[in-house]
């Protein structure tokens, strides 16, 4: 299990009910992690509508998770 810190923005924050959380995950990649969270929180956004960043750098969805990573999921927002 890997322990990671998650930060949510916009719709994801709303659906998760929190702007951040710490989780222990069995997922190995960011893609698997999002699928796991989608099932848990009922995220409506498909993965290809999102950007993901790890430790303040944008990242590929196939990146492997490391202990202590801070992962940020960023949906596009349109309001003005």
């Amino acid at each position: 299990m890997t322990r990671v810190t998650l930060q949510y923005y916009a719709q994801l924050r709303e659906q998760a009910g929190a702007s951040s959380e710490q989780v222990n995950t069995a997922a190995s990649t960011l893609r698997d992690l999002y699928a796991e969270l989608q099932a848990r929180h009922g995220f409506s956004l498909p993965i290809d509508a999102l950007k993901v960043a790890v430790n303040t750098q944008f990242s590929d969805w196939n990146r492997l998770l490391s202990e202590g990573d801070t992962v940020v999921f960023i949906p596009p927002v349109a309001g003005g």
Binding site: A10, Q11, L45, F58, I74, P76, V77, A78, G79
Partner: protein
């Protein structure tokens, strides 16, 4: 007896002239200013004058008193029109009666020059091409400043000793001169002369920076929650020309976040309200308004006329279109968007090798995925903060202030007070698909092909507000099943013709279920000379009622 009037009604010339009759008068001189059909090379179809009434009247009376003293005339009056005027209409009338013709001529000239120079009156020119510009009615050449000391020299008003400044070379410089506090409102109105000392004092700004701002042309797309602080701060900072694009009218639900508007302005076009606000905040700023959203066919031409663009709409399609046009015209673009309590900010420098919006999100997601202020809600200060950050980024670019070396997406969460910069790696973006320019060119061509007949609206009420006549081209049974909730003309697509619509005299928005039949009908009507548009995506694309 002197009298200065502002009036929305035509001027009764005979009565004006009669009022100036005086037994001691040996000469009467009148000047009439008319609306002409062109200005600075552009064809004008009409114009609209707006005045800061109380101040215009007070200052107008002062001008008449000065002329009377200065030239020893017996009576002088002036009338300036406000409101809408057509070509050939009388815009201003000056009349002077004096013992001799010479004083009458000179006083008349003095009054018109000073009125043009000093009164807080703005004109909005309507051009034949369909756009508008607000122009401060100030000129700088004043004949009396070149005059040798006059026989009535002991009456000289302080204005007369201000030397004429020679050699002003550009429009901005001319405008600034006209706002020199010593020649404008007089001591009691000093607040009207821009005073940039607080920002000029910054070592990185200085007089050079102020000149850069005065010479800058900035386009602001969207005069809503983000646009309000952007427009306000850029006007306050003395940006020479502000272009403002917005197709909406002010709605009561806008006021909690669009704080430069008034409750009494509801229903008026935001571009007009914004232009009026800028004219009052800083009369030295020239405002150009665009009351239709930019589209793929005209956006690069518009961008080419500006040094910088700030995108402030709540519309993803507009943001992508602006990105593509910015990249293709090498115009820096400041993007921001908000969601409830947070926002995102990105500066697209439009320089080779530096990332654009599509480097991050190659294509716009479906509108339903992105959320809007209407559906998701937003707290007023959120666009206020993000718009203020956009204004800051715009000023940084215009002034050449120090910037981080990398390019980032900035995320701001105002609930927990956090902000983070995520550097964007340009080599992982459009570079993988031929580079930003190639990607933007392809995207713009696609948008152009799709969009030249289409208009996007979330609610048909918006289309009605924007001046479209709604024509429902569905069959009767479809209409019964899903009626529209706005007034519409029903003409099934198979029966559509220009003849059926000839009485509408407005742009026509055709509506069907998916946008296909309406696009086809719009194409047919265009060929018959009708200003016809198709609702993009049809009724299916409207926001749920």
């Amino acid at each position: 007896m002197n009298r200065f009037e502002l009036t929305a009604a035509p001027v009764d010339l005979a009565a004006q002239r009669e009022a100036l009759k005086h037994p001691g008068s040996g000469g009467f001189c009148a000047f009439e200013g008319w609306v002409r059909n062109n200005n600075e090379g552009r064809e004008v179809s009409g114009l609209e004058y707006e005045a800061y009434t109380e101040l215009a009247i007070a200052e107008g009376e002062r001008v008449l008193a000065e002329a009377t003293e200065r030239y020893g005339v017996l009576a002088a009056s002036a009338v300036h029109r406000v409101g809408n005027l057509a070509i050939g209409d009388l815009a201003v009338w000056i009349g002077v009666s004096a013992p001799h013709r010479d004083e009458a001529f000179r006083a008349c000239r003095y009054i018109i020059d000073e009125i043009k120079h000093r009164l807080p009156i703005w004109k909005k020119e309507h051009y034949l091409e369909g756009d508008h510009a607000w122009v401060a009615c100030s000129h700088t050449e004043r004949a009396h400043e070149m005059e040798p000391p006059h026989a009535h020299g002991h009456h000289h008003h302080p204005h007369a000793v201000v030397p004429a400044k020679a050699g002003t070379q550009c429009r901005q410089a001319v405008t600034r001169e006209s706002l020199d506090p010593s020649v404008r409102w007089g001591d009691e109105q000093k607040g009207f002369a821009p005073d940039y000392s607080r920002q000029v004092r910054l070592r990185e700004v200085g007089e050079d920076g102020q000149r850069k701002l005065a010479n800058a042309r900035v386009l602001v797309i969207g005069a809503g929650g983000l646009g309000v602080p952007v427009i306000s701060y850029l006007a306050g900072a003395g940006v020479g020309t502000l272009g403002i694009v917005d197709g909406d009218v002010l709605d009561a639900s806008n006021l909690h976040r669009q704080v430069m508007y008034d409750a009494r302005d509801i229903g008026q076009r935001k571009v007009d309200l914004a232009a009026r606000r800028v004219a009052r905040l800083n009369p030295s700023v020239e405002v150009v308004t665009y009351e239709q959203p930019l589209h793929a066919g005209d956006i690069t031409d518009v961008f080419a006329g500006y040094d910088l663009v700030v995108e402030c709409t709540d519309d993803l399609a507009s943001r992508y279109l602006a990105n593509d046009a910015a990249v293709l015209t090498s115009t820096p673009l400041v993007l921001a968007s908000v969601y409830q309590y947070e926002g995102q900010l990105q500066v697209v420098t439009a320089e080779p090798g530096e990332p654009c919006l599509r480097c991050l999100w190659p294509d716009p997601p479906a509108p339903a995925l992105a959320g809007s202020c209407v559906e998701s809600g937003v707290l007023g200060p959120v666009p206020g903060v993000l718009g203020t950050m956009q204004a800051m980024e715009a000023l940084k670019l215009l002034l050449g202030l120090p910037q981080p070396a990398d390019h980032a997406l900035q995320l701001v969460n105002l609930l927990d007070g956090t902000s983070q910069r995520l550097p964007i790696d340009a080599s992982r973006g459009c570079a993988l698909h031929g580079g930003c320019v190639a990607v933007a060119r392809r995207a713009l061509e696609r948008t152009h092909a799709e969009g030249e007949l289409e208009r996007h609206f979330e609610r048909l009420e918006e289309a009605v507000h924007a001046g479209y006549a709604i024509v429902d081209v569905r069959e009767a049974d479809e209409i019964d099943a899903t009626p529209l909730h706005v007034t519409s003309l029903r003409v099934p697509s198979g029966e559509i013709s220009a003849y059926a619509l000839v009485h509408l005299e407005r742009p026509v928005l055709l509506v069907c279920a998916s946008g296909r039949r309406s696009a086809h009908a719009a194409r047919l009507l265009r060929e018959q000379g009708v200003d016809a548009w198709s609702l993009a995506g049809g009724i299916a694309a409207l926001a749920p009622a």
